[in-house]
Amino acid sequence: MQSSRLPSHKATQLRGTKVSLAGADAVRNALVRALTGHVAALEEGGGLTIAEFAGLGIVVWEVRRDRAGTPRCQFWPAVPWSSLYIDGSSPSDQDLARLARSETGSGLVLVCSSPDGPYATDAFERLRAAHPQVPDFHYTAPLADVLRHVLAHDPLTRPYELVVLRHTRSGRLALEGCQLFPHGAGRGYRETLTIRCEATGGDGTVFAVFATEKARRFQLVSTESIDLAAGSYTITAELRGPGLVRFDGLPGPLREDSRSWAELVAAVPARLEVPRPAHLICAVEVSGTKDQVAERLSRIEQLIGAVADEAKDQTRISLISYGPHSFDRAVPDVPPAVLIWAGTSDETLFALKRLMDRGAVDIGYPRAAQLECVLGLIAGRLDDREGRPVVVTVGARPPSPRQVDPATEILPCPYRQDWRRAWHRLLEFPGISFGAIRDHGQDEEIWTSLGSGALAAVNAVNVRRFAGRLGLLSSAAQYVPFPLVETEGD
């Protein structure tokens, strides 16, 4: 059987009335009370059927709750009398019962909206006689209006909450629900709350409402968003009916957001990077072709430039160049070079310019570079006085292993440095983050680790976004999809 949503008022204008206005109001009120009671009693899986005996035929309406507890109504197109009363014969009681869906086990209400129609009256009376316990009404005004009214005033069967982000004690962002409406709240219920929103650069702050259950299961009710300027907002949420929440206090209307829940959750950053002093350590591999090295250095220059534009006074910068170990007896091994340590952006750009003039070093041992020594060097030299460390590595090759590696057959580091050990030492620095810009190579474990905060290809990196993800710029560059709330005790 074909089904569709609740019809518009015009689509259901098919009835006349013979009762007085006062009488009509009384019938309407009785019908509303009956339907309200039935809808309120609906549980998940249950349904309410309203069989309407209209001028053109039998129309069946069905109300069920969705998984969020919101009552939803649908109706089936009228089964015309002309298909039931043929050549003077009338349908059987069983046929009428089947058409009215009176045997489905759902609650049933009978409504005759065409008391002057002989077929409607006949069918209505026969079903009423068959189901004497079922409430029945003669109501000639549009039934859809009554149903809309009933559904809109149905009190919530589950509390509604707004999805927000909260800072945990460790500084991470946690998704939480902030209650808007309790169980039993009805249309017009209002709740005022203060939220903080970050600028979203066009992606929009998402106002996602969900219905909760005791077992903390939740179902999304609505997902809407609006592009807001960063700041605090005192908003009022008003329950317009089950599944309908209106937010006042925002500078414009919310629009429906088509992103999936998984997408939105994935966009939540691990922590909110508020601008605070950072120590950007750039390690750049200078082995490779001339063009490769020039492009890597160019990305470093852009990154430093972006940081200098926004957080010049809050960021110290170090620059390290490295290449391959020498395994040639005739060529001494040159360790990674610290070109500048915790300098200003101007000092670092000057050092970078000299490195650019020097260009690529000899290709040397082509299968690895001194990444393990670079990490060891940083771990040994770093302290937290210069700010939160942000290590950005730009290169391609894997590190030399600590010892013979049968899998890769890459020659071991002459100094037996172990990149994993150095990596774990670095992780002990509070707030440290890692970014990597790579121009080629396989998915080695080290590059996944070095790019754990931000990973980009050298020819397709958006340095502002890259820096934003590492918390190097103001938080404006960081997308925070949901409103933030502060909770007592934090």
């Binding site: 010892q403 013979v404 049968p406 071991p412």
Partner: protein, 320 residues
């Protein structure tokens, strides 16, 4: 006193193309020079002497592997050394004295063996069989890395041995059905990770306390054979086990000895001066041509001299 092993009883070096015969020869020269015990390789003519210098220089100075030399089978070298012999003096006296012996050294190349039987191939093949018929000692080189990637050792072995047997079928030395040669089977490229790891997993590695570099070795003949058999299991063609069987079917078991060798040996960090199991690879890619290996450190041949001396001593025995 000098004696020369009969010219028809030399040592032939045999192995598939690119199995490392010329490198082995150069490494032999280096290793003998290091030992300083009187054994040496000499060229019997000017061209052979110069070629030997070139091969050795490539390994030591240029850190490269000698290129397969065109017509290498036409050069002539001799392994010259001293062996102790017991001489009978009269009815009861026996005297032990040193004798200088000279053993012809041939590089028998199997190139062209599988190619179409054109004139050039037939010539090379005939030279190879001639060398083997004339010799009584064979250094058979088995390259496990080549076998893993190409798997052609059996192809280069079986036909040659069948033809050798056919050529010697009427010889009195073949009357018992065995070919009369002594065979030193050398499993090469011990320094390569895959070979080393296999030996290590089989628990075959030992270290000689008298070795100043403390290099690992597969010292025992039977352990070497065990490693050879295990390496045959990863042959690309799956036929490498037939190499072992074919050799043992044609030569007397007591005249076959197995060695695990490396022409360049393991890397030794000059600062440490001893072998380091954490860093032993002695090959590095050439920066200008990463597909081409260069030798990383000093060359320390392993089990290159030993098979030669074993063969030399056997051939110097009366009646060999």
């Amino acid at each position: 006193v000098a004696s020369e092993v009969p010219p028809e009883h030399g040592i032939a070096m045999w192995g598939a193309p690119s199995s490392g015969k010329t490198t082995f020869l150069a490494a032999l020269n280096i290793a003998l020079t290091r030992r300083d015990d009187g054994w040496k390789v000499v060229g019997t003519d000017e061209a052979s002497a110069e070629t030997l210098i070139g091969l050795t220089t490539a390994l030591t100075r240029d850190r490269t592997f000698p290129l397969a030399t065109q017509g290498i089978e036409h050069y002539r070298w001799q392994l010259v050394g001293r062996v102790a012999r017991t001489i009978r003096r009269g009815r009861f006296r026996r005297e032990r004295r040193e004798e200088v012996i000279k053993i012809r050294l041939d590089l028998a190349d199997a190139r062209g063996e599988l190619a179409a039987p054109d004139q050039a191939s037939r010539g090379v093949r005939a030279d190879l069989i001639d060398n083997l018929v004339r010799s009584r000692g064979i250094v058979f080189l088995f390259d496990p890395v080549r076998e893993f990637t190409l798997g052609d050792a059996f192809d280069y072995t079986y036909g040659v041995l069948a033809q050798l047997a056919q050529r010697m079928v009427d010889s009195p030395e073949f009357s018992d059905g065995w070919l009369p040669h002594y065979v030193a089977v050398c499993v090469t490229k011990f320094d390569e990770i895959r070979v080393y790891e296999t030996a290590d997993k089989l628990d075959l590695l030992v270290t000689d306390l008298d070795d100043p570099y403390e290099f690992p070795r597969v010292a025992d003949d039977q352990d070497a054979r065990h490693l050879f058999a295990r390496l045959c299991e990863v042959s690309r063609s799956g036929n490498a086990d037939l190499v072992l069987n074919t050799l043992e079917q044609h030569f007397r078991p007591e005249r076959i000895k197995y060695f695990v060798s490396s022409a360049i040996g393991f890397y030794v960090d000059p600062r440490a001066g001893v072998y380091d199991p954490a860093d032993f690879q002695n090959l590095v890619p050439d920066p200008d041509d990463p597909g081409r290996p260069l030798i990383r450190g000093a060359v320390h041949p392993i089990n290159v001299v030993e098979p030669m001396l074993w063969l030399g001593e056997r051939l110097a025995e009366p009646g060999a």
